[in-house]
Amino acid sequence: MTKPVVIVGASMGGLRVAEALRRFGYTGPITAIGDEPYAPYNRPPLSKEVLAKEVSHEAVAFAQRPATEDVNWVLGTRVVSADLEHKTVTDSNGDTHAYSALIAATGLRPKRLQVPNGDLAGRHAVRTLDDAIGLRAALVPGARVVILGAGFIGCEVAATARKLGCEVTVVAPGVHPIVRPLGVELAKEIQRRHEAEGVRFLMKTTITDLIGTARVEGVQLDSGEQLDCNVLVEAIGSHANTEWLEGTDVDITDGILTDNAMRAIRTDGTVHEDVFAIGDVARFANPIFDEVARRVEHWNIPTDTAKRVGQVLGAKLNSAENWPSVLDEQFAPVPSFWSDQFEMHILAFGLLALADEVKLIHGEIDGDCVFGYYRAGTMVGVCGIGLRSTVQGYRAAIGSLAS
């Protein structure tokens, strides 16, 4: 019997790579193993539109195409280990799955606050559908919500909670919200617009402990101040889910290191021919920017890296004659993301955090505006509030840096 291609992870990346394998001509068996009980669904609305309405799997499930109808989805099951020598993975039920090729699409999980009095109800993360269902139920009018972390997700949840009638305080160690990728000027303006809507920010502050016996009743701040709350949202970044590859020779220093064909790289620098990584968990160099391998947690990355694996692995499994030339093709996806917060529609391309210079290039800071992000004088990113067509106009220039 032909061994299947095994995809570990059944979220967007897992679905997209199954589709891509079919599109590039692979007709053999595919097994996708995912720890959540749900078929692949769309995460971004979970901190935005969907959180503001009713959260259900139906509202966010991806449509599935005929080409992937025969994929064997093993859901509610976590892969716990891999034996890359014998080409098997073992799941949480103790079942072993042999593979012809292995695709890691295990993504991230939220970092959680570690405090002495941490074992309380009322703590929330924002990643999965179940997280969103739990948080939605807690965001009732008048709820006192503390959000730890002022990145994109923290700010999106702040805006959504405020619109739902909650009292919202954002606690974060930085100087301004989202300041690391966006730069001070735009970050300050985003903070100003949040404050105008009634969100309170306690910046340069962290939470040292929680107050309460069974439920969260407040937070202890490092300033000595205490803050009452009955909902705590933790939006403090993510861990890459790579524990299942511990004990193998894959470089999992920060996510899974891959080459430009998304093939996993061993700690000795050599390449696994039949182990791939895609999406948030993959760390790869993008020729647009430089030779530094990075994990990129942006919307288009699961889809673009899945296509790349479909192209490479599809050609390999079909013993296609163009196989070597497929490998030599340059993979240089332009990072793309957006964020909705109150009336702000933020759209960005590139890697803003690489910039050493940020300039307002269109509009006015207190209205619709576009900022350019430059490294050594070359544009590496663009970000706008509104003015989407203008922002889009810079995408090609950023992408062309690869050639």
């Binding site: 539109e49 991806f62 529609h345 003015l387 067509s389 889009q392």
Partner: protein, 64 residues
């Protein structure tokens, strides 16, 4: 052969991600609102499917 394209405008948030995948079908107008061509040659199918994949709101459909 032609394909029919439908966008659920109650879902669409005009993010414009589709524009790059199928530029012959989707565009943002001067008000940054999405406009699209509802019928196209079958040769556009792959591009439209790519646009469906990248739509943050999953609001694009091919009507079979």
């Amino acid at each position: 052969m032609t394909i029919k394209i439908d966008v659920d405008m109650t879902k669409c948030q005009h993010y414009g991600q589709c524009v790059f995948e199928a530029p012959n079908i989707f565009r943002l107008n001067n008000d940054d609102k999405l406009e699209y061509t509802a019928e196209a040659d079958d040769s556009e199918r792959a591009n439209v499917e790519a646009a469906i994949d990248v739509c943050p709101m999953q609001a694009i459909f091919i009507v079979e």
